[in-house]
């Protein structure tokens, strides 16, 4: 195998496939990137056995062949080489020689035959969506996913396709984020659910760009594949039942407040400084024309802040994890948010006024 390529053309694709490779692996092969040259095309693949990223660079000079080599090392080498330089890679006696200008690298390889691939079944659901929209869906929800929860099905993002609606839901059991978009074409009559593992969600979010270019999504029982341009992203799905999220979204809360989004974020951010670092509890108070926040910590230090709102009615005070509120406010857009509250035992909702496409739920804390 021999490849001659400009550094700047291979650097980004190499970065894409390397990022899925774990820093510490159980098998040496899992630290490697697969490289193949055939018909003027370089194919690169990285995997962690759960998620696989494949990408191509076209119109490259070279000779047929394939091998696998340390992903992070090769990426680091290419990154360290000078901009606009040319790189020559050649496989010789099971070693990969990487030459560029005066730089010489001699890397060990492992046989390409042994590189593990994710084997997918036939796709039973396919749809197209703009990269930018998909990226936004992930950004609006992914932060609410659970992390290493025993309820393994919460350690991922639910993707639900029903007719023309593409919906994603994330929850850690304390708060929930739901966001949806309408597709141009219906993806089928039946409702289709898939839970994408947490790591894959975060990786995917990084590959997607804020552009109108279409991403093609394919689903089977156990896999999701996303194709964007030359990049093919394949991941296993979490086999489990996602909780019934519709059931926990409150329909008619007693109080709906129209609140200036940034102002509310700011008073929360200030009060959060004196919350218990671990539990992050604050008291949110609603009374006549005033929304107040109060925090205290184990050192008995206290913080209090407030903002004016348009409200006449009963006073109510509810405890929340301040991080959950701030993350939801940060993920929303627009000047005003609709804050729905009921009582100290019911979840609150945060969304844009008159817009149900994106909604956040936060369960209270008993303080």
């Amino acid at each position: 195998m021999k490849i001659t390529i400009e550094r700047d053309r291979i650097l980004k694709p190499l970065g894409s496939v390397s990022s899925v490779v774990e820093r510490r692996q159980t098998l040496p092969m899992l630290g490697n990137v697969y490289i193949r040259y055939e018909h003027s095309t370089v194919t690169l693949i990285g995997t962690d056995l759960e998620t696989e990223v494949k990408t191509k660079v076209n119109d490259v000079e070279g000779e047929f062949g394939e091998c696998t080599v340390g992903a992070r090392k090769l990426h680091d080498i290419c990154r360290a080489l000078e901009e606009n330089s040319n790189i020559e890679m050649q496989l010789r006696d099971e070693r990969l020689m990487v030459n560029s200008g005066s730089s010489r690298f001699n890397l060990q390889t492992l046989p390409a035959m042994e590189f593990p691939r994710i084997e997918t079944e036939d796709w039973d659901c396919e749809l197209e969506v703009s990269q930018g929209e998909l990226k936004k869906l992930i950004e609006k929800t992914a932060f609410s996913m659970a992390q290493q929860d025993v309820r393994y099905y919460l350690n991922g993002l639910l993707m639900e396709i029903t007719g023309k609606i593409l919906r994603v839901v994330a929850t850690d059991g304390h708060r929930l984020a739901k966001s949806e978009i309408t597709l141009d074409r219906s993806a089928g009559k039946t409702t289709r659910q898939a839970i994408i593992p947490r790591k894959a969600v975060n990786e995917l979010g990084r590959y997607l760009e804020a552009s109108d270019q279409l991403a093609k999504l394919c689903l089977s029982t156990n896999h999701l594949q996303v194709e964007v341009g030359l990049l093919v992203f394949t991941t296993k799905l979490i086999d489990g039942r996602f909780p019934d999220y519709e059931k926990v979204i409150p329909k008619d809360l007693a109080i709906h407040l129209q609140v200036h989004r940034n102002e509310m974020f700011d008073i929360l951010a200030r009060a959060s400084i004196l919350t218990n670092e671990k539990f992050r509890g604050i008291r949110l108070g609603v009374k006549s024309n005033k929304l107040s926040v109060m925090a205290n910590n184990p050192e008995q230090e206290e913080a209090e802040d407030s903002m004016s709102i348009d409200y006449e009615g009963d006073e109510i005070e509810v405890g929340f994890n301040v991080n959950y509120l701030m993350e939801a406010l940060r993920a929303l857009e627009g000047e005003t948010v609709d804050l729905g509250v009921q009582d100290p035992n019911s979840s609150c909702t945060i969304q844009q006024p008159n817009d149900n496409s994106t909604i956040y739920l936060v369960m209270p804390m008993r303080l």
Binding site: V150, H174, P243, N276, M363, M365
Partner: protein, 388 residues
């Protein structure tokens, strides 16, 4: 600066409480425990009963055989718990640093109270007097620079013992004692030591720590430190504890896994109950095993979520034990269970999706705790473990 630690140990606690309330029993051999007709066990024996060779954990039947005139009294655990709380109130007068070990014994760190109350000996005497005058009971007290020595001192001159170990006389105090006085050295340990020519603490102290380590592992080094009277463990009350644990050394080494699992369940229930009593939750579960060859191992696992539910702690502890013993037949001499990474101030984050198991198990714990508080620890416990 030397610390000043007290170990307060009630003499024949259950039996003494019963005799106090029924003066006609004074001077007689009295045993608190199950009846000899059934499969009762001696929970406590008065000193006159002990002279017949009767001791706790002995079967009631054996006790009757040793002393046909013995008086059996049914235990009143909730009552002992009340008396224990009264004792605790006495101890709390001298320091908030009280670490209860059981209903009838506790450590006190009075280092910070010395300016207020005088010497450790003075505080010890006050406690003994208060327990006798106010509660009509007798406590043995040991005063020493650390927990190990204090416990040893309180035990050495029972009943009504009162021994003070000054920092400069530690070695004089320890050297003549037999090695069996050291924590964790039982009959088996004593035999192994004797083979090495180690009979007294002085014999042990003169050995090189490396030699003991190569023979007994980490525990050997620990013993060497004890033989020098060194012990840095702080006195901690449950509210500020960073971990809570219970362990038990078997009189005979055990290797049957289901028996060990039952003991582990029992330890877990005790640990979980203490955790709940102080309104704390734990995030790590630790298992401790010491094998017949003295090799000690600990295995721990971090839980996904902090909990105080017996069922969840037990599942994890059991999993650790099975994983460790499934493939080996080693005899176990000590089994311990502990929890760590305690949350100081659990506050209730409400859940979006109610977890049925959690809600039910939590409710079960609340009920069993109330039963145990009212009728005594051990009145209710989980059934035998399922074979795996």
């Amino acid at each position: 600066m030397h610390r000043c630690i007290l170990h307060v140990d009630m003499d024949a606690f259950y039996a003494s409480v019963e005799i106090r309330d029924r003066p006609e029993l004074r001077g007689k051999p009295v045993v608190v425990g199950g009846s000899p007709e059934g499969r009762g066990v001696v929970a406590a024996a008065s000193y006159p009963a002990r002279r017949f060779g009767i001791h706790s954990a002995m079967s009631a039947r054996t006790a009757v055989r040793l002393c046909p005139d013995i008086v059996f009294v049914a235990p009143r655990h909730n009552y002992y718990a009340d008396v224990s709380a009264q004792i605790r109130q006495v101890l709390n007068r001298y320091t908030p640093q009280v670490e209860p070990l059981a209903l009838d014994e506790a450590f006190l760190d009075v280092t910070a109270s010395l300016r207020l109350w005088g010497t450790g000996a003075e505080i010890g005497r006050r406690i003994k007097t208060a327990v006798r005058d106010e509660l009509g009971l007798v406590a043995s007290v040991g005063v020493a620079p650390n927990k190990f020595l204090a416990k040893l001192a309180s035990d050495l001159d029972k009943p009504d013992g009162f021994i003070i170990v000054e920092p400069d006389s530690i070695q004089d105090f320890l050297d003549p004692l037999p090695v069996s006085r050291l924590w964790g050295v039982g009959k088996a340990g004593q035999r192994t030591m004797a083979k090495l020519g180690v009979r007294t603490v002085a014999d042990l102290r003169r050995r090189r720590p490396q030699q003991l380590e190569s023979r007994f592992g980490e525990w050997g080094r620990h013993l060497w430190r004890l033989a020098h009277g060194r012990d840095d463990r702080p006195v901690m009350n449950d509210r500020e504890a960073k971990s809570i644990s219970h362990e038990t050394t078997f009189s005979e080494d055990l290797s049957e896994i289901d028996v060990l699992r039952s003991v582990l369940l029992d330890l877990t229930e005790q640990v979980a109950r203490r955790l709940r009593r102080y309104r704390r939750t734990a995030r790590t579960v630790e298992l401790k095993l010491r094998f017949s060859d003295f090799i000690t191992i600990t295995r721990s696992k971090t839980l996904a979520r902090a909990t105080d539910v017996t069922h969840h702690l037990w599942q994890t502890a059991d999993e650790l034990l099975i994983k460790e013993l499934r493939h080996c037949d080693r005899a176990v001499r000590l089994l311990g269970m502990g929890v760590g990474a305690l949350d100081a101030d659990p506050c209730d984050q409400l859940e979006l999706f109610t977890d049925r198991t959690n809600t039910r198990q939590s409710g079960l714990d609340r009920i069993t705790d109330r039963i145990s508080d009212r009728f005594g620890a051990g009145t209710i416990h989980r059934g035998p473990v399922q074979r795996k």
